[in-house]
């Protein structure tokens, strides 16, 4: 079995199922359409296109929600996509919300504490984890300083600072959630999420941020399948070829650098092999990794999945009769 071929088959059927799902859910909720946060990335591009095909462009609203550290190209690509699909859209910068909560100042304080040479006028920053497949390093996050495209420092975060930084960063996605519901309720629409299966399994979304939505049409598609959908739908090549990223650091930080710690094709093949309990020989053949590297990657995935339990869990109810 070729895992990538398995993931790339049935793309037309998948697109049909997702379109049907979107249409049915809008009807079930007795709403009139969907709001989509358009990030300039591949997931939201696929969702926006499928939503337009399912509901018609007049029932889809695109929101571009940039902030001070977003890449300029993200908004440009998002706007271009909305115009191409003839979707009504608006750009609502969330920077004022973040400034009112002192998010940038607090973030800079933590970065400065971790990298003393940090100067926000000179350096761009990102949060990175060590790559996993070629070395057996612990999952310890570091702040990276970049000047003129060159890495000039990479220092480890202390646990307290890391936790504070994550809370600070997540305000970005949670602010976007607020704006999306503002527009959804105004139009009697639902909020359509863009989380894919790879992200869902790994908890790679912000609880009540980008995970705070009404429907998740892509959440049973591995990222590799999202690429196949993008090809089928004729999504802008520039969007397809961008490295995936949450786009919340001034130096563009890819998902591979921070979340996956390995190329997405490898991550998806490993997740697929776990889902279908494939034998190790088949995984070795598909990924061209050694048994040792596969074992290391699987242990990493198991730990991440375990931590993701919290993110995917809805509010737990205390049932009085049980």
């Amino acid at each position: 079995m070729i895992i990538i071929d398995e993931l790339n088959k049935d793309t037309e059927k998948n697109a049909f199922k997702i379109r049907t799902f979107i249409k049915r859910k809008v009807q079930d909720f007795k709403k009139k359409g969907v709001v989509v946060g358009v990030s300039g990335g591949i997931d939201s591009a696929v969702i926006l296109t499928l939503a337009v095909q399912a509901l018609g462009n007049e029932n889809v609203y695109g929101l571009l929600l940039p902030e001070e550290e977003s890449a300029t190209i993200s908004t440009e690509l998002g706007a271009r996509l909305c115009e191409l699909l003839d979707v009504s859209y608006e750009k609502v910068p969330i920077t004022p919300i973040l400034q009112s909560l002192d998010i940038y100042a607090e973030k800079n304080r933590i970065i400065k504490k971790t990298c003393h040479e940090y100067d926000s006028d000179i350096h761009k920053t990102s949060l990175v984890l060590p790559a996993l497949l070629n070395n057996d390093m612990l999952n310890i996050p570091s702040i990276r300083l970049v000047k003129d495209g060159e890495i000039i420092a990479e220092n480890r975060l202390k646990a307290k600072d890391y936790l504070e930084l994550i809370g600070i960063q997540n305000v970005k996605q949670r602010s976007r959630m607020l704006i999306q519901y503002l527009y959804a309720e105004k139009n009697n629409y639902i909020v359509c999420g863009t989380t894919n299966k790879t992200e869902l399994i790994l908890g790679q979304f912000v609880k009540y941020g980008d995970g705070g939505v009404d429907i998740e049409p892509l959440a049973d598609c591995y990222k590799t399948q999202v690429y196949a959908l993008a090809d089928l739908l004729g999504v802008d090549k520039e969007i397809i070829e961008r490295p995936p990223s949450p786009d919340t650091w001034s130096h563009y930080t890819s998902d591979e650098d921070f979340y996956w710690r390995m190329p997405i094709q490898i991550m998806d093949q490993l997740l697929y092999s776990q889902e279908y309990a494939l034998p190790i020989e088949m995984i070795e053949e598909n990924t061209e990794l050694s048994e040792e590297a596969i074992d290391r990657a699987k242990k990493h995935i198991d730990k991440v999945r375990s931590a993701a339990n919290y993110s995917v869990s809805p509010p737990t109810i205390c049932y009085l009769d049980k």
Partner: protein
């Protein structure tokens, strides 16, 4: 060596998900046994750095050195020499 081990066990009993009934062998994986998670691991490294006044070089941040009592005791001994 015994003192470091006792200090680490005391830390884990107070700060990790280890409860009083957990049986922990010196070579058991702390993460695989669910005693510490990814955040707990960073906290553990911060604790070791501060308690023993040591800077831990990046290339020593491996599961072999920090994912078991034996590994931790050995690396602390090595870095405090």
């Amino acid at each position: 060596m015994e003192q470091i081990k006792e200090e680490m066990m005391a830390y884990l009993q107070n700060k990790s998900f280890m409860d009083s009934g957990t049986k922990l062998n010196d070579d058991d994986s702390l993460t695989m046994k669910g005693i510490i998670d990814s955040i707990g691991l960073i906290e553990l490294i911060d604790f070791i750095s501060e308690k023993y006044s040591i800077d831990i070089p990046e290339d020593l941040l491996t599961p072999e050195n920090f994912d078991s009592i034996n590994g931790i005791v050995n690396i602390i001994q090595k870095l405090t020499k």
